[in-house]
């Protein structure tokens, strides 16, 4: 049993199988991290670097030319009180990395905030109910027990009430107490159209499973040195290794998948830690390299048996890619909040998460407190970005403003469209001669209507909280900036319209499974995807183990 990738999906399926008694080999292209020694939060220069990227901890990919920016949507351009309009050009461009992923043991969960969301059940039936995207080939009811299991492994802390995401059991841990900024925002209130509740978080509100409770340092995105954040390395991987059934090989890059006869994958070629190319036979191959690398590897494995790439018989690999539609507005409150302290994104508003809740477009969104995601949790970013000027006046202004920044972030549904997909770059290749992934991205009008609603709502929330002076706004109209990327290997019932079935199993290649976000048929209305990826992966792992005659070890 070979698993490619050890992010949320790869680690969860590896744990499920290993804890069922199945021997698993997990190959990870990136490095392993040691939370205690690799993260910098106890160092004076902790703020200078957002995350300590190691060599090979980020993949290589390209972007196709993106759309021309239009005057009629100019209100959606990102700006800053010091630098002015950020993107000065005529075209949408990637924001630095653009695709904010991480290669390493634990994948992007190492630097995620750790929101642990279940999808809105209505977001899983977008085609049947609203004629957009595609239906999931499973229901919320099918997934609910696996959500519960993932939450238990991760140690999710959440509120007692969370309808319409019904629960069979309470969260494993009680919700975290709200920060001062969250208390301020909560006062904006349901009467004004914004109901704020405690966010479900993969961060421990109490000591749990041998890990200590969170101490509210506000920097989940820089890596958690305490191991209280439920990243995949300290949860699923840790537990899988404890079974002695998992062999983990970081620094191992898979080059290609070799198809065999009888609709079965025969082997994979990979480069080991010493730089040697090897071939490995596999009874079952599980891909979990993410929504960009998984399609890339399938497409790059074209040969005589699979001229269009592995599992691409219906030409669906790489199609239906969905990116992060996001907006954030930051302002300075006129009262001390210590907003650089506390749990990031501790408060959330789901009022507009239902697919029909935004006027004029299908697909929902959510709002949350986002100072940490906006990186406004230390003096450097205040000084550089939101406190204008210099000299003694700047020092005084910084002292007055520090701890008073409030950011409202919004993430919305991204519906698949024909112009958003991933393919192989026709020219650029990696060190091993494998073509790089090329990301094509296009924001059609429904996405822009949704984004405009998100912008107006973020501004309204700040206004209702008494924060009138905006200092920065950032959105994905003029920048491609995706923390969550979905699709590319859509799951579905119809082999002509999808790549895998509801268990993540290829319609054609019976021993090929996928357990990352590439199989999502729709993105959801702003929910963070890691918990859903993990729940799907556990479900797939159970299915495989059952097929092999294994049962979970008590």
């Amino acid at each position: 049993m070979v698993v490619i990738g050890t992010g949320a999906g790869g680690s969860a399926v590896a744990w499920t199988l290993a804890s069922s008694g199945v021997r698993v080999l997990a190959l990870e292209a990136g490095p392993a991290y040691s939370p205690e020694s690799d993260y910098l939060l106890d160092k004076p220069h902790w703020e200078k670097q957002r995350f300590p990227y190691k060599p090979n901890s980020q993949g290589n990919y390209r972007f196709a030319q993106m759309q021309k920016l239009e005057e009629r949507w100019s209100m959606l351009r990102s700006w800053n009180i010091i630098s002015g309009q950020n993107n000065q050009g005529e075209y949408r461009i990637p924001s630095r990395a653009g695709y904010h992923h991480l290669q390493g043991v634990g994948g992007s969960t190492l630097r995620f905030t750790g929101e642990a969301h279940r999808l809105h059940p209505e977001s899983m039936q977008m085609q049947s109910n609203y004629g957009v995207a595609a239906d999931w080939p499973l229901s919320y009811s099918d997934l609910e027990p696996f959500y519960q299991e993932a939450e238990t492994v991760v140690g999710v802390a959440g509120p007692a009430e969370n309808s319409p995401r019904w629960r069979s059991q309470p969260y494993p841990l009680p919700a975290h107490g709200l920060s001062k900024a969250a208390t301020l925002i909560k006062k904006t209130g349901a009467d004004n159209g914004f109901t704020w509740v405690e966010n479900a978080r993969a961060a421990l509100s109490m000591n749990y499973d041998g890990r200590p409770a969170c101490n509210y340092c506000a920097n989940c995105n820089r890596g958690c040195p305490r191991r209280d954040k439920g990243s995949a390395d300290v949860t699923f991987i840790h537990k899988a290794l404890a079974t002695d059934n998992l062999e983990l090989r970081p620094g191992t890059r898979v080059l290609r998948i070799i198809p065999g006869t009888n609709n079965r994958i025969k082997s994979i070629d990979y480069i080991n830690q010493n730089g040697d190319e090897k071939t490995l036979s596999c009874d079952i191959l599980i891909m979990a390299a993410g929504a960009i690398e998984t399609p890339r590897l399938l497409l790059a494995s074209a040969d005589k048996l699979t001229p269009n790439g592995v599992a691409n018989e219906s030409a669906q690999v790489g199609r239906n890619l969905m990116e992060t539609l996001s907006w954030s507005s930051s302002g300075i409150a006129n009262t001390p909040l210590n907003s650089f302290k506390g749990l990031p994104s501790d408060s959330i508003c789901w009022d507009y998460n239902h697919p029909t809740s935004i006027p004029g477009t299908i697909g929902g969104c959510r709002f949350s407190l986002s100072m940490s995601e906006a990186d406004l949790v230390g003096p450097i970013n205040y000084a550089q970005r939101i406190v204008p000027g210099w000299g003694t006046g700047h020092k005084q202004a910084l002292r007055k403003a520090f701890g008073q920044a409030v950011t409202i972030g919004a993430i919305g549904e991204f519906l698949p469209n024909d112009k958003t997909y991933v393919d192989l770059d026709p020219e650029e290749k990696d060190h091993f001669g494998i073509p790089l992934a090329r990301i094509h991205s296009f924001l059609p009008k429904p996405e822009l209507i949704r984004l405009k609603f998100m912008m107006n709502s973020c501004r309204k929330i700040l206004h209702l909280a008494g924060i009138s002076g905006l200092v920065e706004e950032y959105g994905t109209y003029d920048y491609f900036s995706s923390t969550h990327v979905f699709g590319g290997c859509r799951m579905g019932i119809d082999p002509k319209q999808s790549v895998v079935n509801g268990y993540g199993q290829s319609h054609t290649w019976k021993n090929l499974f996928i357990t990352d976000a590439s199989i999502f048929p729709s993105s959801g209305g702003g929910e963070s995807p890691s918990l859903t990826i993990e729940a799907l992966a556990i479900r797939t792992g159970r299915h495989i183990a059952r097929g092999l005659g294994y049962k979970p070890i008590a």
Partner: protein, 163 residues
């Protein structure tokens, strides 16, 4: 979400502009190294105008920010050249020596740089130096006095986050 609205690196267009304007050096060997006193003194004066000492925190140069900036140019050719050109430009605007100016005159020059066209040398130099200096200065705990921040976030965290 990882993002940063500032593009502090010189773009190809900006480099080309400097070349075409004859500002960027074609004969690099004619230039004095950035770590020579000629540049260090100007850089110190500039940084202490951007971040002067006040009642509770030291100036940029007192924390060695000028040296950290010079160290940072060793692996970044464009940055190195920007520092040299910017310091020369400052001296040129100061009748030969920026360090001889009184603080009000220095402030006046920096105010002009701040308002200059964002693709011009003065603005590129000012914006990059402001950005880098703030990062280096506020990386040092001695600069945190008065902010309500006494230590790095870990290992103690902020258990008082609700108060």
């Amino acid at each position: 979400m990882i993002r940063n609205p500032f593009n502090t690196k010189l773009t190809r267009r900006e480099l080309l502009t400097l070349f075409l304007a004859g500002i960027f050096p074609l004969n690099l060997r004619a230039f004095t190294p950035t770590d020579s006193p000629e540049y260090i003194l100007v850089l110190r004066a500039l940084l202490d105008t951007l971040i002067p000492a006040d009642d509770i925190t030291p100036s940029a140069s007192a924390l060695g920010i000028h040296q950290e900036i010079i160290d940072g140019t060793s692996s970044d050719f464009a940055y190195d050249q920007l520092i040299q050109l910017g310091c020369r430009w400052l001296n040129h605007q100061s009748n030969g020596d920026f360090t001889n100016l009184q603080m009000p005159q220095r402030i006046q020059i920096l105010q002009w740089m701040e308002q200059a066209d964002r693709h011009s040398l003065p603005a590129l130099f000012f914006n990059r130096l402001r950005y880098e200096a703030m990062a280096l200065y506020y990386s040092q705990p001695a600069s945190w006095k008065g902010l309500g921040l006494e230590r790095p976030p870990q290992p103690l965290g902020y258990m008082d986050y609700q108060s």
